[in-house]
Chain length 420, copies 2
Amino acid sequence: MADDPDGLLARARRLDAEDPLARYRDRFVINDPDTVYLDGNSLGRLPKATRDRLRQVIDVEWGVDLIRGWDRWIELGRQAGDVIGELVGAEPGEVTLSDSTSVNLYKLAAAAVAARPGRRVVLTDDDNFPTDQYLLQGLAEAGGLDLRVLPTDLDRGVRLADVRAALDGDVALVCLSHVAYRSGAVADLAGITAATHEAGALALWDLSHSAGSVPVGLGAAGVDLATGCTYKHLNGGPGAPAFLYVRRDLQAGLRQPIWGWFGQADQFSMAGRYEPADGIERFLVGTPGVLGGYAALEGARLSAEAGIEAIAAKARALTGYLIELADAWLVPLGFRLASPREDAHRGAHVTLHHGQAWQVCQALKEAGVIPDFRTPDRLRLGVAPLYTSFGELHVAMSRLRGIVSAGRHERFSTRRSRVT
Amino acid sequence: MADDPDGLLARARRLDAEDPLARYRDRFVINDPDTVYLDGNSLGRLPKATRDRLRQVIDVEWGVDLIRGWDRWIELGRQAGDVIGELVGAEPGEVTLSDSTSVNLYKLAAAAVAARPGRRVVLTDDDNFPTDQYLLQGLAEAGGLDLRVLPTDLDRGVRLADVRAALDGDVALVCLSHVAYRSGAVADLAGITAATHEAGALALWDLSHSAGSVPVGLGAAGVDLATGCTYKHLNGGPGAPAFLYVRRDLQAGLRQPIWGWFGQADQFSMAGRYEPADGIERFLVGTPGVLGGYAALEGARLSAEAGIEAIAAKARALTGYLIELADAWLVPLGFRLASPREDAHRGAHVTLHHGQAWQVCQALKEAGVIPDFRTPDRLRLGVAPLYTSFGELHVAMSRLRGIVSAGRHERFSTRRSRVT
């Protein structure tokens, strides 16, 4: 093709034609076909099933059933938890919806530290998401703990050897992100969990960027604790409740510090004394968000239907193709890859360094491509295997190449961002 | 009237005809006009404006704007907080939406105790809502505090004299409910807050049953801290986010223990070290629920439009009329009032003792009247001045009288409840 001298457009067309997940795009509300949305790992698109389910919940279950809706809503946490559990390799009854990722990190980290009396160190790394670091700082300050922060190559992610070297008999808890929010690097969850257990500590994983994008295998790796948001790859909508996981054999022995009535053994006895529930419910606190919860359920169902292995395979293909385009078109313009190059080490986004990444971001948005900026110089491009096509990536990267070649990003001067 | 020997139906008709809030009923989705809904203090009805706003948020702001929706959503907490603030007597910037009531109680109580070093007592009463008691038990156990629980006449509510007698120089925090969830008794918020301050302690009020039903006057009373749910009298929908209040001059000096990125001074700097925001935002934690938040906003707006004084006046008239009906029809059948008789001491619900209250509740639901049961022998009847009519109360109490006169509740045998 005359307008495809490097054959990359033809490749996109072939990959789209062969894509077994292509039909899932039609399951989403897409009113803006000219926009290339590469920020589904901040906020996933709206599934049509979610739109319909929310109308039912609002108009009928709230509007007509009123308080009787709780006969159904009370099951929602476990119901959605079991679907998410399937995606992250957990058993039924090990996952539920609850609060925000941040509040869950607090509850789980506090419970873990309390379960390792005498050990005073919490281990994390400097590539962990800010809220995780803040939460651990707060816990450390309140509990007289030592927060050990591993320095990490932010383009490569945390390494097992470095974690192993930092583990000793003082460590109560290791808290890390499975897929790094900057680079998309996938940590060695199984290896790090095993090393953590060898040292007698507990492992708490933040799955915000991995749930719904890569297989997690919580059960196979024997992970102790995990949490993550549902509004990224699970397409649960803005501010939807987070999920939390506690390995079944640990549930009865752990106590979390925020004692609310949804964690009480017999909630409606209105008893005077708190007695935690037996199962995963002991990690709940207050009345859960029902609208966001149903959105999380429907979003997760769509991913479960497609299957996490198929999703991850397409994510690898999409990000691999993105890297090909970047190598061919953007490296000559001053971009540099800020993500792992190996298939097995990438989640569902690719990040590029560029000295004017913020300005490039603004210009891209104007051109109908929605990426994300990560301080100080990163352009983050997320793919969503359920609705991103290879053709879209070709369009987006063509626009990006055009902008930077012509210097059209130069007129943006200040810098500001506001997303996850 | 032949079928109105005691003139109570004629009274209902006159009161409805004179009701300045009658037109607000049409602002709600009501598809079940034969149902008398007396549980709006567990879950308020669906406002039409909320249904429409949620469609906009889901279909356009999420579905089309996608991540750009956060430019608007980021303001939601304060926006809704200011409307709720107007209803509870707070200034702009003193209230925001956040988490659940339970999580907020934890954050605020922990911050208060930390602000009174050396004082080791938290004071509450046995009429406080269970989740409040559980939260305080957890904090007391973790922090080596003494939880002092005042015994209360559960039909009359907590009394200033009893609180005053229990206050001393060891008390760091007094945590009580403004309107009691069983009896609807209104506590002397201003008097108890003043006594708390005289003793050098901080006052934390749970406003779940008072926000949107009675004037609260947080600012006038100099209340330190407060929280409450939005799904009762504020009509915010199932599991909508709670609100929290911190008096402005206290905000900068208090530190809450759950350090998340929404409480960080410069959230998107992704800085390594937590620095709490200046204003009410320092009491936030993780990503807030957007759908529930907009429902809370629209619900609160409707109450603010009607005005809290008009709402409270109608609540007094409705509950007064309910007591009249109970005196005339139900006391002879073995019911006994479990709420204060004085207008000024009642919130927006009336509770009745009956030995078979649970069975009566089930029979009422079958007859199209939705009340609530409170263990062990209480029938709770909530009124919602924006949509409850006097005529409905006459219908509901007639049905109740008919059921109990004929013994139609006797066939229900077991006992179970599941609401707030």
